[in-house]
Symmetry: C2
Subunit: 282 residues, 2 copies
């Protein structure tokens, strides 16, 4: 199934056609619920149970989850095995699966990264485009969606992405044009492309300009809330038809505090953010 | 041990102070020696035995090896386990280990990628700098060397890296300045920084200019030979003291044909390239 169509269907099912929340699973041992850290002396067992709980808590509430590959890779092959387990559980629960791996290579290596993501059951991958179109195309050719890093939400991304080119664009604008070109032949029936972009919510001034450059792209949007992105910032990223925005939130959801069990706290935080985003983007 | 000093010592031991060959392990099942493919029905068993053979063949001949992470990741967690085995074997054989993973993330994710590389026993990692300095610094802070993607050898890298900035630099030149700045406080006793750069040999016109921008960096240099890079191209990348170039070659070494066993063919190809590079850069 075409990635944009799959995501579109999942957004409809979650009650917010065209927009949605993607819960980021960035499990870090020190932040897990105390009950899990006490029960399991083995970090990976705690992370395994935690991730399964998060997935059950958010399934049916949000359309998509995003796995931060680094948090699993730090435990080596055994950590990657837990990622495999979580990705399978997510897909089984009907969640759209984004692998946040920020891969970027060319030729046979890019093909292999795409094969790795497909084997994992991911529907889309975050990708760096610094190597050029041939670093991105193999993922699309493998039938995956991509979110190419265009404008990230970390403050010092300016040191690379904000530079002005001689032709009047910024580096981020140039990358946006590259994504648009890559995505042109890969439109889903829903009218969005399988080639999406990472565009942070903390750069509101640029948001509308990047949307104008990438009319057909789904934006994966970090930076809302804790990182400073406002409702206004994410509104600027919508298409004229009020679609194409997938707001991603990690720590504010998966480490949500509250009066109930940790799983119920997570479910409540996910519902709260879902409703907040739906209201903003209505 | 500081990465540049470790590499410098390994280059001296391999008989070519200041320069050297890095053999790239990009194992792809279809290209493995027939004898291995026939013996092992399980792809990973063939790759495991192949990699061990390559490492034994090149240890003592070249200072460094580079593992293409994608070729292992495509087999999931079991593939990563073979990478762990190969990295351990390489370090045990005294080889300097570069993890060619082209990682690039920020904050806690970058810390985790660095932890993953350190756990693997890698001495350096290839890194994308598109997210800015905070995507690279965590690897250096973890005690690893880095090779930041500055100018890659694939033809369509021009679509990103060759663009002229308004300030007169190219995108690649801007990335080079970022690498120089990141590396300034991280010099080894040998006079080279732990922050190196990937600079392809196929862009000779730019080579000397990038060297001028990055006087303290070790260059990891793909593209020599099969990809079109000439002796002249790699000479342009040397420092004035004739140091700082690590030429990487993968398929031409690990799939070398010949009259002898596949391991002996690999050893002969590695020796031949080592002598060729030493003669060029003398």
């Amino acid at each position: 199934m075409h990635f944009a169509d799959r995501l579109d269907a999942a957004m409809r099912k979650a009650g917010s056609p065209g927009v949605g929340v993607c819960v980021g699973l960035d499990p870090v041992l020190e932040n897990l619920p105390e009950t899990l850290r006490v029960t399991h002396h083995e970090p990976l067992r705690a992370i395994s149970e935690f991730g399964s709980g998060v997935l059950r808590a958010v399934a049916g509430v949000v359309p998509a989850v995003k796995f931060q590959s680094a948090c699993y890779e730090r435990y080596g092959s055994k950590g990657v095995a837990v990622l495999e387990q979580h990705a399978l559980e997510a897909a089984t629960l009907g969640l759209t699966v984004v692998l946040d791996a920020k891969r970027g290579d060319i030729g046979i290596s890019a093909n292999h990264y795409a094969a790795a993501a497909a084997k994992l059951g991911a529907h889309a991958v975050t990708v760096s485009g610094y190597l050029g179109p041939s670093g991105v195309a193999p993922f699309l050719e493998a039938g995956l969606g991509v979110f190419v890093l265009v404008r990230t939400s970390n403050p010092d991304s300016d040191a690379v992405q904000s530079h002005a080119l001689a032709d009047g664009r910024t580096v981020a604008g140039m990358m946006a044009d590259l994504v648009k070109d890559l995505g042109a032949g890969r439109m889903g029936e829903c009218g969005l492309s399988a080639a999406g972009a990472v565009v942070g919510a903390t750069k509101s001034a640029e948001g509308a300009a990047l949307r104008a450059r990438m009319p057909d792209q789904v934006f994966l949007v970090p930076g809302y809330g804790a990182q400073g992105g406002t409702a206004e910032d994410i509104r600027a990223l919508l298409r004229p038809d009020r679609r194409g925005v997938l707001v991603t939130a990690s720590r504010s959801i998966i480490y949500a505090k509250g009066e109930r069990s940790w799983i119920d706290n997570i479910a409540a935080a996910a519902k709260s953010l879902r409703d907040e985003i739906a209201a903003i983007l209505r």
